[in-house]
């Protein structure tokens, strides 16, 4: 059961942040998608739909997406469709259903650092920063390691560089969560980014493999290194051993796709 005592729809981020700090048990909600899957009490639900964080825009060499933008709105944006050969837009289409994507927001997906998220893995493999109201701008990989709880995700910023990008995942059916996912990208100077997620923990960069690829071009070996530097776990979707076995395969497929 979800129990919400009070609901508040601020007009500005300042108002939202003030309430988040001053009311005990206050939470920013991203509309309500998946909220009722857990049983909890929220003293004050803060809804950001009126604070002006609903946008996708291109500024200089950066794609900026407002924290309260529904995933479906991002997916349909021409900017996203044109970015990275349309591959990022395809990742959005893997997320649950059209109806849910019209409800769930970018902030609601990234801020809770959901382990099963396909989007976080994809964004990690691209150069993505996030902007928090209080803690400011930081790379996504830094945010994922931090223990920030009381803050507001204002926007995400994806470097719109000429990166080749590939997203790989294994799932039991199209309409399911990934058992494991991996994203790979490379720019024209051969700088690779590799992320593996749904292990089932939140996605992480495979730094050793990325460093290895600076000096070497054996992608089979790189995929092995990437898979080995991660921790895996068992959950309802799959076992630790299964994930360990498929991880190098997914990374290799991703590398093969971006090298083509």
């Amino acid at each position: 059961m979800i129990e919400i005592k009070d609901y508040f729809r601020p007009k500005t981020l300042e108002e939202a942040y003030e309430k988040l700090l001053s009311v005990e048990g206050a939470e920013i909600i991203g509309s309500g998608a998946f909220m009722r899957l857990s049983s909890r009490k929220i003293n004050l639900a803060i809804d950001l739909q009126d604070v002006g964080l609903n946008y996708v825009k291109l500024e200089n060499d950066e794609i900026k997406i407002g924290g309260a933008t529904p995933l479906g709105y991002v997916e349909r944006s021409e900017i996203i469709k044109n970015a990275f050969n349309g591959k990022l837009s395809e990742v959005f289409q893997l997320i649950w259903s059209v109806q849910l994507r019209n409800v769930a927001t970018i902030g609601g997906t990234i801020f809770p650092r959901l382990g099963f998220s396909d989007l976080i893995t994809a964004l990690l493999a691209l150069n993505t920063d996030i902007v928090l109201f209080n803690n400011g701008r930081m790379p996504l990989e830094v945010f994922l390691e931090e223990r920030i709880r009381k803050d507001i995700l204002v926007e995400i910023i994806i470097k719109n560089e000429n990166r080749k990008f590939s997203f790989q995942n294994i799932r039991n059916s199209f309409y399911d969560f990934s058992i494991l996912n991996a994203a790979v990208s490379v720019d024209k100077d051969n700088n690779y980014r590799i992320a593996i997620g749904a292990r089932p923990a939140v996605a992480k960069l495979a730094i050793n493999a990325m460093n290895y690829l600076k000096e070497n071009n054996n992608i089979e070996e790189a995929a092995k290194i990437a898979a080995q530097e991660m921790d895996y776990g068992t959950n309802i979707k799959g076992s630790k051993e299964y994930r360990e076995m498929i991880a190098p395969v997914l990374v290799k497929r991703g590398l093969e796709e971006v090298i083509k």
Partner: protein, 152 residues
């Protein structure tokens, strides 16, 4: 708390609790085409249009629908597209128990606006969140393909 929603083009003022979801409020107001299935955002039978976009009403807080436009199939009664979609489903025998039909029809209605000349694969991707408990989706797909061919 009091919220205002335009439901099927009629402005309604409704008393809701902050814990309530849109699905339960709509059913309380007698919009019985909006079905309650899984109640966790999976099955799609509670689909309604919010400002023209299909959403899962079980996953939208009623309070956050304040000020928005909600359309259920009751509101499409005289809409030619609605009639064409439901006729196509009837013609193919895809109405069956009818439980998933309102959600499916609303999503097909939205798909028609969102996708231009979709392939069968694109249709399936768009409709992945509309589950049917009766069969294997074959009559539905036949009906939807026919509807798209005839109209486009």
């Amino acid at each position: 708390m009091k919220i205002k929603m335009t439901i099927n083009n009629v402005l309604k003022e409704v008393e809701v609790s902050p814990s309530e979801f849109l699905l339960d409020v709509l059913r309380r107001l007698d919009y019985m085409s909006v079905k309650k299935g899984c109640d966790t955002g999976t099955c799609g039978v509670c689909t309604v249009l919010m400002d023209g976009k299909p959403v899962l009403s079980c996953s939208v807080l009623a309070a956050s629908a304040d000020g928005h436009k909600i359309t259920t199939i009751e509101g499409l009664r005289d809409d030619p597209e609605f009639k064409a979609i439901s006729q196509a489903l009837l013609d193919e025998g895809a109405d069956q128990c009818g439980f998933c039909s309102p959600g499916l029809i609303l999503n097909v209605y939205a798909m028609k606006r969102d996708l231009k000349n979709p392939t069968e694969e694109e249709m399936k991707k768009y409709l992945v969140g509309n589950l049917c408990r009766c069969t294997g989706y074959m009559p539905q797909m036949r009906a939807i393909k026919k509807y798209f061919e005839v109209r486009s």
